[in-house]
Amino acid sequence: MQQDTVLVVGGGPAGLAAAANVNSAGYKAVVVEKEDVLGGAPILSGYAKLVPSGEWAKDAIGRMVKRVEDDANSTVHKSAKVEKLEGEAGNFTATLTNGESVQAGAVVLATGFTHFDSINKPEWGFGTYEDVLTTTQMEQMVGSGKIACPSDGRVPERVCILLCVGSRDRQIGREWCSKICCTVSANLAMEIKEISPETDVFIYYMDIRTFGLYEDKFYWKSQEEFKTKFVKARIAEVTASGDGRLLVKGEDTLVKRPIIIPFDIVVHAIGMDPNADNPELSQVFGIGLEKHGFIEKAEQYTNTCGTTRKGIYSCGAAYGPETIDDSIAQGAAAGGRAVADLHALVQKAG
């Protein structure tokens, strides 16, 4: 009976949406998640309030997790990976690392992304100075309800967020825009100011890409209501000032002058890398990767949920940097497409 089952790899927003859609069509979903909790990056990295809903990640994603876990047609394997996949569209057998075997007619790869590791941009101080953080760490700080310098616990007078860390940077082989960091950073600036009104937040940018409806809701609002200052500059390095603060060095490209500005906390707006497991996933599932290392789409317009292998679908940040909302939409689409193709297969055979 594998033709009534869809194997969903990855239990983040996209995978949970795929599984829910498979279930709602009356099909069975088997979710395989390598970590020991469902929810994906928003839960694993401890995001605070999500863009654009403003809802806490644990509440919003929690509902998605509950919807899948409560469905009798869903089976969840946590702390497990797919080790081997045999068969073809309509008749796959997957062997999991926990020893289980799953029969499924289709596979949805909702394997997401890996956060850029700021260690790969050493000149910007991450890993060297305690008060240099990533956006995910800052999200966690916001979640804790207190803004303080990790080094000595003082309330920061000034925080700066550096955009495009691990994005749009040929030097380190990241030639893509991670799409959501501008909006997330504007949102983070507002959250910091909300918790700590005496802290001034600066955002260092080369372009601001708060696309679509994020423009006024995040970019404008952070400027107009929360007095976030946007500085157009290229950053060279982050060093220590000697008096416990950090110095951000670079060039203000509008004023055409070098800058060395003291800050208390420096935040890296880290981008989205292809999932570090993608080479392995490519081998196990026999699918192609596009030139940046994300999963390759079958066809841009007529098979948007497909991969280079029939019967295997993908969605969300596995295809490239993606927002949570669009990952959910794509996950739902991939689940739907998998079910539709299985249905057609059964009709044809019957």
């Binding site: 970019y219 157009k232 509008l254 004023v255 055409k256 002058r257 070098p258 800058i259 500005i261």
Partner: protein, 238 residues
């Protein structure tokens, strides 16, 4: 090493020495010219708020640097150094030194308001230009404008006497702005008045200019008024 962007070296940063020793090495002669660094080392966090206290500049924090103001600017068409977008950016970050460098052109805004009409974020750049010009005047960075001098003379007379004497306002205004007391138009004006011989009126004017009467029971009203105006100014601009 060749200097590629000579335009970025302002004269005031050139330091020439007749004799110069750097780290124990005598570099007098050919290497005697040094250029002071142009690094920005801090922002003045309060400056934007300060400028926002001037009428018209309240929305300066909304600017996202699109450049529509400069692009539409009447003055920019005359002089590309006249760049409202740039001054708004400097205001936002509190780069006062950079702003002061342009003190001799910021006031040239002709208030055509094309910038204000085109601004997608409703920053009202014209208001910002006026605010900056006023701030510079109040800080003594630029000289007082004739209109400020006129206003002061006008207010001073009110404080003192509770009234103004046209002739005296004019006389002192011309004096303070270094203009000849006997203006051509004034001659024509007086001459035409004489033709109608309003002797009584002319005598009254002449008398008042010398005598300076006060409004009845003006008492300390002027002092009170003066301190009220000062308080209002301080409340607005700190």
């Amino acid at each position: 090493m060749a200097i590629h962007e000579k335009a970025l070296i302002e004269d005031e940063r050139l330091q020439q020495h007749d004799e110069l020793v750097v780290d124990g090495v005598d570099v007098s002669g050919h290497w005697n010219t040094m250029i002071a660094p142009r690094t920005v080392r801090d922002y003045d966090d309060d400056f934007e708020t300060k400028i926002q206290t001037y009428t018209g500049a309240e929305n300066v924090h909304r600017c996202w640097q699109c450049g529509s103001c400069t692009n539409s600017c009447t003055m920019y068409a005359q002089n590309v150094q006249f760049n409202p977008r740039y001054w708004i950016y400097l205001t936002r970050l509190g780069m006062k030194e950079e702003l002061v460098k342009d003190k001799d052109i910021i006031w040239q805004c002709v208030s055509c308001n094309k910038c204000t009409n085109i601004c997608p974020k409703d920053v009202k750049p014209e208001g910002v230009m006026k605010a900056l010009a006023h701030w510079m005047e109040e800080e003594g960075i630029t000289e007082k404008t004739p209109s400020s001098i006129f206003d002061e003379e006008f207010a001073d007379q009110i404080y003192k006497t509770g009234r103004i004497e046209d002739g005296k306002v004019m006389q002192n205004f011309f004096k303070k702005t270094g203009q000849p007391l006997l203006q051509e138009w004034l001659k024509v004006f007086v001459f035409r008045m004489m033709k109608h011989l309003p002797v009584k009126h002319l005598m009254a004017m002449g008398f008042n200019t010398i005598h300076t009467p006060r409004t009845k029971s003006w008492g300390k009203t002027g002092d009170v008024l003066k301190s009220y105006v000062r308080e209002q100014k301080e409340a607005a601009h700190g």
